[in-house]
């Protein structure tokens, strides 16, 4: 959009059409006329944007009505049946996502960007966000951690280890050495997934730990510099 001097007569001419335009009900020559004008006039474009947000805000007033019994199950069943993915056993499900992301990282940065040795924590490329790292416990993969540089930055973790249950605490260590407790979550039958926002940029995250109720480290993940 250019910031041309505003031609008041043209603005006045289209002003009656802006609401219809914002609602998407304007058609034909009138729509073309408004479209051409708002592409050049920042004032009218701002009005259209504001009218659109007003119309959107009305949708937020939609009444909350209890959905029919079993609704969520039917949605999930239908989604699974329509998504072109074979039924993956629970144990492998977390790692299917991880594998896809790791594959993309490998392709993007070369296999050398990933270091994965049994018995040590695995590293990810930190140059691309969202970045992922495998969560390891005593050399075994037990889940996956993602961090992303959104606003705010966030972290997402999946854990799948049948030997755990109960509450676990997640801490994040940043490049400057400070540690942030970002939340706690409950593992049910060894499985849990959760997400939280971070107070510092995800690019500053160097490691993540999952700590048990008694303070012992259950698992950790490291992000490369």
């Amino acid at each position: 959009m250019t910031n041309r001097p505003i031609d008041d007569s043209r603005c006045a001419h289209v002003s009656d059409l802006l609401a219809d335009f914002a609602l998407g009900t304007l058609i034909g020559a009138e729509r073309s006329e408004v479209l051409a004008h708002v592409s050049e006039c920042s004032n009218c474009a701002a009005k259209v944007d504001s009218l659109t947000r007003t119309a959107d805000a009305l949708l937020e007033l939609a009444p909350n009505v209890e959905a029919p019994l079993g609704f969520e199950s039917r949605v999930m069943d239908r989604f699974r049946s329509e998504v072109p993915v074979t039924n993956i056993p629970r144990q492998s499900r977390v790692f299917a996502v991880a594998a896809a992301i790791i594959f993309l990282v490998v392709v993007a940065f070369g296999a050398g960007a990933l270091i994965g040795q049994r018995g040590s924590t695995n590293y990810s490329s930190a140059t691309s966000y969202p970045a992922s790292a495998r969560l390891a416990s005593q050399g075994h993969n037990v889940g996956q951690v993602f961090v992303s540089n959104g606003r705010p930055a966030w972290i997402y973790m999946s854990v799948d280890d049948d030997s755990w249950s109960g509450v676990a605490i997640c801490t994040v260590r940043y490049r400057d050495g400070h540690v942030e407790k970002v939340g706690q979550f409950r593992l049910s039958n060894g499985y849990g997934s959760w997400a939280a926002t971070l107070k510092s940029p995800a690019s500053q995250v160097t490691s993540v730990q999952v700590v048990g109720a008694h303070g012992h480290v259950l698992a950790s993940a490291k992000f490369s510099a």
């Binding site: 009900t25 007033l61 009505v65 966030w154 499985y191 959760w194």
Partner: protein, 185 residues
């Protein structure tokens, strides 16, 4: 995941996490079903619409752009568009707005659940809507929620096309001014 933001939850959905998907559906099912029911007026059809909306949201979570609006607006817009399409496909008979749930939108009496769901901004909008003359309120709701064109509003309300256009325009503009003025205070 009950305490995470909509945006964070949707990010987890985009990564394909089953638990996040289920949580997202649980969080939004009442609102999407409520919106669909308000527009199509039939519980069975409303479930079909809401289901389809969720399928699209779960499938396209990765393309959601937070800079273009909130998750709730995105989800509700998808639902509204599907409900409008459904009405058009079955050539739904025009129904008086009084028969729909949405004429209650201007009520300032909220059920406790709705107070929890609706943000301050929504509460402001609700109050602003209540101040509109009833004919403008009806025209705005028909146009914004039910997707009626000005010509369709004119037919349903038995008014000239020019009158329908001005009611929609004036009503929406007054809502915009009312809510933006409060924001600036």
């Amino acid at each position: 995941m009950d305490d995470v933001s909509d945006e964070t939850l949707l990010s987890a959905v985009a990564y394909g996490d089953d638990r996040a998907m289920l949580n997202f559906v649980r969080r939004y099912q009442g609102r999407l079903f409520g919106l669909a029911l308000g527009i199509v007026g039939d519980p069975g059809l409303a479930e079909d619409v809401a289901q389809e909306a969720f399928i699209r949201i779960l499938r396209h979570a990765s393309v959601f752009d937070v800079r273009r609006g909130s998750v709730s607006t995105w989800a509700l817009t998808i639902t509204r568009n599907l409900a409008i399409d459904s009405n058009r496909a079955r050539r739904a008979v025009a129904v008086s707005p009084e028969d729909h749930l949405f004429m209650n939108m201007a009520s300032t009496d909220d059920a406790p659940d709705d107070v929890a769901i609706h943000s301050d901004e929504s509460q402001r909008m609700k109050r602003a809507l209540a101040t509109l003359p009833i004919e403008q309120r009806r025209a705005v709701i028909l146009a914004t929620i039910y997707g009626r064109s000005a010509a369709e509003v004119a037919v349903e309300e038995s008014i000239p096309l020019g009158t329908a256009k001005s009611r929609i325009r004036l009503g929406l503009s007054r809502l915009r001014e009312s809510t933006s003025t409060r924001e600036a205070l």
